[in-house]
Symmetry: C2
Amino acid sequence: MTFEPLRPLVDTLKVLAHPVRLRILALLHGGELCVCEVAEVLGLAPSTVSEHLTGLRRTGLVREWKVGRWVHVALADEAATRPLLEALWPLMAGAEAELSRDRAQARALRCDPCDPVACPPSRTLQEHA
Amino acid sequence: MTFEPLRPLVDTLKVLAHPVRLRILALLHGGELCVCEVAEVLGLAPSTVSEHLTGLRRTGLVREWKVGRWVHVALADEAATRPLLEALWPLMAGAEAELSRDRAQARALRCDPCDPVACPPSRTLQEHA
DNA sequence: ACGATGTTTCGGGAAATAGCGAAATGACCT
DNA sequence: AGGTCATTTCGCTATTTCCCGAAACATCGT
């Protein structure tokens, strides 16, 4: 039972219906990140995160662009899916503790120049602020 | 990767992420129906429809109650999922033609006393209007 | 040119999902 | 009590999803 006319909406909902992808969206709600930072915060293999991001990009929920050898990711604010996301934030309130912990960890990664792996100097200098 | 705190929202989104279940919700947006009418309109086996409805009920999107030997279904208007549904209707606009055809067929089933199978007399008398 | 690092693609195995028909259940009617 | 009809539960198969590690790309730095 495909029922083609609903396909785009169903695809979007399928993409939203996964805890990891919701976490990624909440994470990006705090600002753009690069793929490896997302993987680090979520504790998942980079390939896994990459695949989740592919889904989010395919349905227009996030946008990605290359910066040096990194790929940056952010919410696609101009998306037709805007109202859906707006309806979603309040419903994620029950996980706010965990989600803001994710965001804090992302901030720490981005701002800590002491960890050359997570935050190589070139990036630290260029993209901060 | 379970990430428990998001589980209720994820469950709801999973249930929404299926063309048949979206069709059912749109169908019920036009008024309550009994399970066999839903099955008839959708052209699916009653057992299949029953399983879809179980999911919708489990996540609080619809409510069901018995009327004689039928089970009636309607949107659960008081649900916490209200804002989500409201955000959803506009996004189903692309399928409006098909969905209103569904609703028309449901109305026809409910109102046609000539078809004793789809619309047994006892029900026609009791529940009309 | 080479090596290191971030990312994506690919192959595979475990788990969840979707659909159906058959059988079981519950309610009505005679 | 027996029969009929609406519904649900069960058993099954086919398909899809999820996650990973290995391998393939791509880009930077030396």
